[in-house]
Symmetry: D2
Subunit: 151 residues, 4 copies
């Protein structure tokens, strides 16, 4: 993966501030982890009220943290006065989200003035061992008329 | 879209029972709507704790109800003693989920012994008018060794 | 599906002219069919040199006509002086492309100033009967600085 | 990326034999490159009859070599007496396929008894320098009743 350079000095603060306004992250208990140029992680502890019928974290919640991780990864590379919006995402569910904790990583594959493409990976940690449980691809768009994060 | 026939007499009861065990649906306030052979809807009222940074329902929550609607649409066509699992889904976000209420519809495009493909549509209702805010495509797999719904 | 209005009087001529420059369509023997606002079809006769190892038309060739059908469907709705480019496409292969002839249809789901989302369907005709063999979703971008079709 | 082990001693021969029956590869001039457990490459020289209206290799042809590279990457890990079929693929087009030569790489992310998920990457080489022009994700299915490759 290439290394990227942020265009905005306060890119990490901007991501953290925007994340704090994603109230759904509070609801599900997700927390922001690493914020680097082109790479952002979001962690989520297992909770009994996040599950589908087999007791694993629901694929849509896996998608929720993956989508935000990718959107914010793209946002780290965007200029001042811009905001991002998810255009589309696709997620392959490789294994049940069965463990104590999920870690979603969004990585920019291709930054662009208008569109940025990210790779999404979600690992599930069980008994101290990580396992990739979802892998995805996402397109996000940079909007120049307002200052805000993805979603 | 074709018309499909359920293989299981109690397909609707089976879906409702499985949905009731998707505890994440309680957390976000989603409710099951129509359950027909090859077609299922899930409704979600807007709530301030479901939003991203602009105040719209988060794309991942949109994906959560879309994924379950599609999974259960597939499940209506599966034989007794089977369960479904989402293999992958892809969602295009067409408009912000800005309104009082969302309605996700999962429609089977192609049923199959092992794999079923569904179309996903999410409408947002605002001031009494619906607008499609997300459109997707999903692959689900039928597992023959246990009796359970998607997720 | 909604009905759309073309913004350009000569939208059909523009599509036909651009298609004629897609030399790969000549190579595989694809021909342009209907060109309506928001909807374009492309036909392809079976040929022994288009196949994969089982003798069916290769999934990538199915994708080639589907991608162009969707791109041109989007192009019918774009203003003068613009061109389109595929941003991404996703295709589910529902059945082998086993028949005498394929018909790809691109339908605009959501037109936009910058991004347009299309639904892609490919039917295979065998012994006079059509069967859907692929279903997809595509995002295309409108570029304002040159006059050209998708690809 | 993990390292994988082939289950079939003659996995490479099996891939080469199947590829030789994909007659569309002859038509477009694609050649098989590396065949390793979980990783296969396919090369394609630029040709004037492969292009879309701007003179770049058509996105569908990019998809054709990407889809086969991924399908064969999955096939390297499958047992004797099995065949593979693409279930779905999604491709993000990151840059025009503008160069002398394309190289598609299929990499297995997650092998499975029934479904295998692959990452697809296509590089375009121009003046001796590679550039990623497409990135994708693919699901392939293992069929146990016949011995054949993907497509």
């Amino acid at each position: 993966m290439d290394r990227f350079e942020a265009q905005h000095l306060l890119y990490a603060e901007r991501v953290r501030e925007s994340f704090s306004r994603q109230r759904v992250m509070d609801l599900i208990g997700a927390t922001l982890g690493d914020v680097e140029p082109g790479r952002v992680t979001i962690a989520l502890a297992h909770r009994a009220d996040l599950v589908q019928q087999h007791g694993y974290v629901h694929a849509g919640i896996v998608g929720t943290i993956a989508d935000s991780a990718g959107g914010y990864a793209a946002y780290t590379l965007m200029p001042e006065g811009s905001s991002v919006l998810s255009v589309e995402y696709k997620l392959n569910l490789l294994a049940p989200a069965d463990g104590e904790r999920l870690l979603a990583t969004g990585r920019v594959i291709k930054p662009g003035r208008t569109l940025t493409v990210c790779e999404l990976e979600v690992e599930v940690w069980k008994d101290g061992t990580p396992r990739t449980c979802a892998w995805g691809l996402q397109t996000v768009i940079c909007l120049r008329d307002r200052s805000d994060g993805p979603g």
